[in-house]
């Protein structure tokens, strides 16, 4: 009798375990389906965005916008750009202006950018 009861209990538990696994599988199936739907939705949105980007980047669209805003742009050609070599005086002037420095005597009166940086 005991053996019978033990076997019965085991069978019942095994059956319950099987059923719970089945239920879990179904639940996970629902979750997967939901996730898939979300993924599809996001992919759809990505496609729509790609379309919008391609549309906005289309030369026709850009030209229409520029015309509407009365902006007349034209790309410079290679012959429209002349590379010139500046004189040494011009070079120094350009370097000074880029570094934000004046002539030597102003350094003495005003101080250098480095000195200002140290003070702060």
């Amino acid at each position: 009798m005991r053996r019978f009861l033990a076997t019965l209990t085991l069978v019942v538990f095994a059956a319950l375990f099987y059923v719970s696994q089945e239920v879990d599988a179904v639940k996970i199936g629902y979750t997967i389906r939901k996730q898939e739907e979300t993924r599809t939705l996001l992919l759809d949105r990505a496609r729509a965005l790609k379309y919008n980007i391609a549309r906005l980047k289309a030369p026709n669209t850009l030209e229409k916008r520029l015309v509407a805003q009365k902006i007349n742009l034209q790309a410079p050609r290679s012959w429209q750009t002349l590379v010139i070599s500046p004189t040494s005086a011009e070079k120094q002037a350009v370097t000074r202006s880029l570094l934000g420095q004046g002539p030597m005597f102003t350094k003495f009166l005003v101080g250098t950018a480095q000195a200002e940086a140290k003070e702060s």
Binding site: A25, V26, I28, G29, Y30, I32, R33, T40, D44, R47, A48, K50, Y51, N52, I53, A54, R55, K57, A58, P59, N60, T61, E63, A75, R77, S78, W79, Q80, L82, V83, I84, S85, P86, T87, E90
Partner: protein, 595 residues
Amino acid sequence: MTEPKLSRTRLFVIFFFFLAVLFCLFIRLGFIQIFKASSYFSMAQNQSRAVIEMQPARGRIFDSRGREMALDVRLDSLYAVSKEVKNKAQVADRLALILGMDRAVIFERLSRDKLFVWIARKISPSKADAVRKLKVEGLSFVKESQRVYPKGETACHLLGFTDIDNNGLEGVELFYNSFLKGVPGWRLAQKDAKQRELISKQLEMVPPADGYNIHLTIDEVIQSIAERTLAETCKKRNALGGSIVVMDPKSGDILAMAMVPLYDLNNAKRSNIEHRRNRAITDLFEPGSVFKVFALAGILQEKIFGLEEKFDCERGNWAVAGKVLHDHHGYGILSFREVIEKSSNIGTVKGAMRLGADRLYKVIKDFGFGAKSGIGLAGEINGLVPHPKNWSRSSIINIPIGHGVAVTPIQLVSAFGAIANNGLLMKPRILTHIDDAQGKIVQSYDPEPVRQAISKEAAIQVRTVLEGVVSRGTGKKAAVPGFRAAGKTGTAQKILPDGTYSHDHFWASFVGFVPYDEPKLVIAVSIDEPRPVYYGGEVAAPAFSKVASEILGYWQVSQTLVPDAVVKAGAKTLKARKVTPVSVERPVARVVTGQ
């Protein structure tokens, strides 16, 4: 109180009653199990199983630089289970407002006694959201693919479009539909009581095979340049329409195929059917003076005479074969080079007569006229080049100057491409390859030489003459700043329905290539019925110049010539600033980037 005693007889009656009931049930069950099993089994399966069709994504179309020209987006399609829709009149009112449809049509659809009826397909997301907010029982959505064209009108005649079921109807979409469409898949799924799919009980599945992607030789920027220039030219010259075809002579790649009028691919159904025609492959026209180049090519190929051979151009009037041939200007003695540069009909015909009908016919055929170019687009036509057996007495006068023959723009551009490519005729190519979603090449279309139309030496000689047409002759307005260009103008009278030549309706054309030394572009411009100015040199040549100039700028091709104005301006600036130039001279044309 005494308990009622059931008699043995009554007990038997009750027992046998239940036994009989059980027996009946057993018989019934047996009947169901044995005889009705299959029908109930199929009913159960119908309720719990469903075959779900899985639509493939239609392949995308890219330009030569990988920019998307056509792709799919998924939109909602609205359907109704009409039996479940209550208050149909009210629902129809609301849907008509949201969808912008006729209320009567919606009401009629809702009133159909069907389980499934389409209300509106592929509606915008905003409209779909508005319908969802109504929360009407019996209305549902299903996702469907919608073909969209982000560039709108760009390359519309080439790309074509699809119908509501995503089948190609025109252009590349039609011709390569079998590659683009893909194969639908399906899955057999188990459903629960709420009709939700049980993914864990998926029974069988055949996945869909997405369509292949198509890679065109077209460059979106070049296409836009050609379309814009063509539209401006047609508007300025009051023309009915026209076409510009741009080709790479070395590979035969079609870089642009522009037609006017344009139509919006995203609203293709609303466009005029006439506007959808791809004129570059379907429109026949008599090429006029552009065709003189092929008489010249034949003469040089057969070494009939040299370019400096002199011809009397009869001061512009020459009676021959029972008709009088005219020149636009009256010329005296001209070399054959000058004959072509100045586009003299009389000189050309005299030269062609020495070449002879058979040899002229051969060279015309060798350049690909009178046969399909094999570009791989639906609707291409052969053109018309009559065999010398069928020539009339005046054919030797008409054909060398581009009358009595009919060509398409694609044939013209290919033939000039052969001249630019040292005599080697290339098959025009519109596709580079077809690949799948993973980038694996399914089919490759390599550049394909057709034949050596003329010798390299003859082609080089023809090119020198064509350069003269632009620098000294009728095509001066085709000059491209900073480059040496070559080409030929053409003005042809159109044929009226009664078979006579019109004196008011013309085709203006210019076909040429640039840079002259190392041609990178062949451009054919054809304008249909420009008014009041109709000469190819006045109407089509400036369009050639503009398109060529912008494309070379886009490709950053260094110029062979520095325009005088720039040299002067540069020298003035340098003098004023007392600086020395690093480099003003330019090397021979070369591509710096791109292409």
